[in-house]
């Protein structure tokens, strides 16, 4: 699956990957990034104890399209539903309604996690501040 280049003498040079291979690598990378659909679906998988393959089958999407789907950035907040539907249609998702529902659920879970993390951080900060007050009072 690599393209063989040749120099002036016709001798083969280092083979470079094809467009498809280059894009596959990109999909893999982008789907791991925060703010990608992949990161939301991964959160859902962890909560639902599902494998990637189970999730893919649930949405009725091919492996190649699922890789692309996960690499895309999450829908915009002000038009989440419509963006999610467009993305699903572009990636040939069979269960569009199910996918959109799950993505919204994942978004809410992610928001919840962020809030929880924020609360923990604030609580830790408050505890630190109150400790300091005690020390200062002493």
């Amino acid at each position: 699956m690599t393209q063989n280049r040749a120099n002036g003498d016709g001798a083969p040079m280092t083979a470079l990957p094809t467009d498809t291979e280059i894009l596959q690598k990109w999909y893999e990378y982008a789907s791991q990034q925060p703010g990608s659909i992949g990161s939301l679906l991964q959160l859902l998988r962890l909560r639902q104890r599902k494998s990637e393959e189970q999730q893919r089958i649930e949405f009725e999407v091919s492996a190649a399209d699922f890789a692309k789907l996960q690499s895309m950035r999450t829908p915009r907040t002000d038009r989440f539903h419509s963006d999610a539907e467009r993305i699903a249609a572009a990636c040939h998702v069979g269960q569009i309604f199910r996918f959109v529902q799950m993505l919204m659920l994942a978004r809410n879970l992610a928001a919840q996690e962020q809030t929880t993390e924020g609360e923990v951080y604030e609580a830790a900060f408050d505890a630190f501040a109150s400790n300091q007050d005690i020390t200062e009072e002493e």
């Binding site: 470079l16 467009d19 280059i22 894009l23 690598k25 990109w26 990378y29 982008a30 990034q33 703010g35 659909i37 692309k68 690499s71 895309m72 950035r73 999450t74 829908p75 915009r76 963006d83 467009r86 993305i87 572009a90």
Partner: protein
């Protein structure tokens, strides 16, 4: 704006990209990534392909994340990507060079070179001895006079830094005897190894 050899996104795609439309961003990436990736591999041949690929991915991901920063009226999209790429790849190149220099001039650099098969003088059978002699003869043809003299010293198993420095002094100034001798030996061994590979010698031929 200058013309470009790279495929350019349409104005509709760019408008969507600027609004943060995920589908437009994907379309733009799919359009430009393969050609930009190949350009980067070709331009930065000295860097490992995987490292170059990582940088290209990082840059594109950042551009998609900060989509509002790109202004299509000022510069072509691929020019914008390549501008950022060049900066990152230059950083990567500088980092790699730093690592290479540390390895090259590190405390065990010379010891590593000494362990190369050309210096293994123990119990060679006759066939190997003939191969080695032929190898040394061919190598010497490709060496500069100063390198040939240093090579002779190394072949004669001379260890004294002073002896090597004496050769170097005859060809140019020596500021730090130890360092200059070490570097000259390292350079020479790299060249010898390269010549060996070019001539088709495998390390096992010389053992």
């Amino acid at each position: 704006m200058k013309e470009s050899n790279f495929p350019q996104p349409s104005s509709e795609q760019l408008a969507g990209f600027q609004e943060g439309d995920p589908l437009a961003a994907n379309a733009v990436v799919e359009l430009v990534l393969p050609s930009i990736q190949r350009w980067a591999w070709t331009q930065y041949k000295l860097l490992p392909q995987d490292d170059v690929q990582d940088i290209v991915h990082q840059v594109l991901a950042e551009i998609c994340h900060h989509y509002a920063r790109y202004d299509p009226k000022r510069v072509l999209f691929t020019t914008y990507v390549i501008g950022l790429l060049k900066l990152r790849l230059a950083d990567l190149y500088a980092t790699r060079q730093e690592i290479d220099e540390k390895e090259e001039y590190g405390p065990d650099a010379y010891e590593k070179l000494l362990s190369l098969p050309y210096n293994d003088t123990e119990a060679l059978d006759e066939d190997t001895r003939i191969v080695r002699e032929e190898f040394f003869r061919q190598v010497e043809e490709h060496l500069e006079p100063i390198e040939r003299e240093l090579f002779q010293l190394m072949r004669n198993d001379v260890k004294s830094t002073r002896a090597f420095a004496a050769v170097l002094v005859r060809y140019g100034p020596v500021s730090d005897e130890d360092r200059d001798v070490k570097n000259a030996k390292a350079r020479l061994m790299r060249k010898v190894t390269f010549i060996g590979k070019t001539l088709g010698y495998a390390p096992e031929d010389l053992r």
